[in-house]
Assembly symmetry: C2
Homo-oligomer: 342 residues x 2
């Protein structure tokens, strides 16, 4: 009744009247096994509910068929919160891993030293998926360490100056530009940008660049009073909008560097009596689920989370298998909703 030893390939072998290596070969689908033998082995294995021992298999083959997903969270957020966009990617990452018969380990990056190298050094995973940045300088140092160690990894984000690692990201610059051109097309001329333009937040920086270039393309330039720092939280977006109002500069549109920022900003603007979109058009970035149910529903630059997750996983697996894979710049798409009427 149950609690006995788990069956091993030796047990199967004995019952099938063959040797252990034959069992291994048969169950792994290797060619060169007599079909009748294979059938017999498979049948017995199924009957005993046999599973290959992953630990033994990993030890022997020297790889684990496992990927590790590492979140680098902003250290200021003591919370368990993860960027909602990452949430959307997560499902896709999990599914794609399953499709490719890989397991997925998941973890936050700990503050502790060099823990990030553990996964591959300890042979827990064959490769790493890096999401987020956390502290930017630390992040870059860790990237360098990973490269030096020859670890396989992919990262979600913008290509960094030093070109470190296999980068998958969406076309932040293009998306920012498209959003701003859309606002210009609606006749808006005083467009505020809510989100850090610093290169320490590479995606935001790229979005800002696209924004600025679009303005320039229309013969306009960025008014420094209309660029307010914010990070990806609602509260930060609210604070930025408040600062914008307090600053007293005139504005008729907002491009937020993320949906959360936009949602926080809309709340403050509405509380201050601004009508959206009549007085202020608002566009966000990401297209998280909350965007479509905001009031008014938020126009936003969509990143295809499903494609993103799939691309990350498949690129990493390709990399592990030494196939020729490269970075990818995924397209964005402007989703027009009511927050940005004429």
């Amino acid at each position: 009744m149950g609690m006995q030893r788990k069956p091993t390939s030796f047990d199967i072998a004995q019952l099938a009247g063959v040797s252990q290596p034959t069992v291994s070969r048969a169950l792994r689908g290797e060619s060169g096994v007599n079909p009748a033998t294979r059938l017999r082995i498979e049948s017995i294995a199924k009957q005993l509910n046999y599973r290959v021992d992953k630990a033994a298999s990993n030890l022997r083959t020297r790889h684990s068929q496992t990927l590790a997903l590492l979140f680098f969270e902003d250290p200021t957020s003591d919370d368990s919160l993860i960027n909602p966009f990452f949430h959307s990617m997560l499902g896709s990452i999990i599914r794609t891993c399953a499709e490719h018969n890989h397991d997925l380990l998941i973890s936050f990056q700990q503050l502790s030293s060099d823990w990030h190298t553990d996964y591959e050094d300890a042979r827990k995973a064959d490769g790493l998926i890096l999401l987020g940045y956390g502290d930017f300088e630390l992040y870059r140092a860790r990237l360098k360490a990973l490269r030096d160690a020859g670890t396989h990894f992919v990262r979600w984000g913008s290509v960094l100056a030093e070109g470190a690692g296999l980068t998958i990201g969406c076309d932040n610059r293009g998306g920012g530009g498209e959003a701003t051109r859309h606002l210009l097309g609606l006749g808006r001329k005083r467009i505020a940008f809510l989100g850090t333009a610093s290169s320490h937040y590479p995606e935001f920086h790229e979005r800002y660049r696209g924004h600025a270039e679009a303005l320039a393309g229309a013969g306009l330039s960025v008014d420094p009073a209309l660029q307010i720092d914010a990070i990806t939280t609602e509260d930060s977006g609210a604070a930025a909008a408040q600062a914008l109002l307090d600053g007293g500069a005139h504005f008729d549109a907002i491009l937020a560097a993320s949906d959360l920022i936009a949602i926080g900003a809309m709340r403050v603007l509405q509380a201050a009596g601004k009508r959206i979109p009549e007085d202020v058009s608002v566009i966000g970035f990401d297209d998280i689920p909350a965007a479509s149910s905001a009031s008014p529903p938020l126009t936003t630059v969509m990143q295809d989370a499903r494609l993103a997750g799939r691309t990350l996983v498949e690129t990493l697996i390709g990399r592990i298998r030494e196939k020729p894979v490269g970075p990818a710049l995924l397209p964005t798409k402007l989703i027009v909703r009511k927050s940005c009427g004429a």
Copy 2:
């Protein structure tokens, strides 16, 4: 340089002038190792950036210091969406695992046969955390299989009739009752319940029970016309609200079995010209992030996601270590916001 063989405990041993077992004992902190020797070994290990090979260690010790998180998603949702409440738990689960030096594997339940037993049978994980139900009959069958196999697992949800497994859940019945009593206290008498009352959705069933009991406690009874089925999606909530309106029954309050249902319902009600909370008071369940930023902000029965995640993990680890652990019923808390004014 990098690409050479990873150091093993033998390498450390040779450099330290001791045997491999001594290295193993020293690094594992076992007593009975000369302090000087231990220090020497630790220093060399650090210098070589040595990590214990997890595969070998797992094979030898017969456990993996790894937990597996299995989502049973509603099979009808082809999407990568996960219940937002689970998202909130996820962070807490990850952190708690890390605190206890455990890794976390994560997966959706595949449709394929008995894949759920793989994790322990294949010795990938020492225990399982089960979230969600998917198809209820299938779920119960799998629970039974896990029990029969002697697998260690905990589940999030309501205690099932057959008492299968170590269950961690919140006090759904109490929470449902508190919400309804709050509405009654506001003078509402025609309270609709949006959410399946079927026992195939155990949490919803419990919430409904609490609701019905509270009504009974006030001398009222449930009007069947005011109970509309819905599952945890905004669209389903919207459809339920529409059905309620179409049904023509009078109602002055809604208790939704989840926040997503409530948010979807509010959208439809407002579109139909109902004022919230003046015409209809609305209460949700869960307190997902979107609840506080809904318009109007949603009154809801909070489940403490952080505590939930922590309790799941710690109970499971206790179980694995054969410590005396039991099921837990976590408290809920009514969070009053504007959707439920006087």
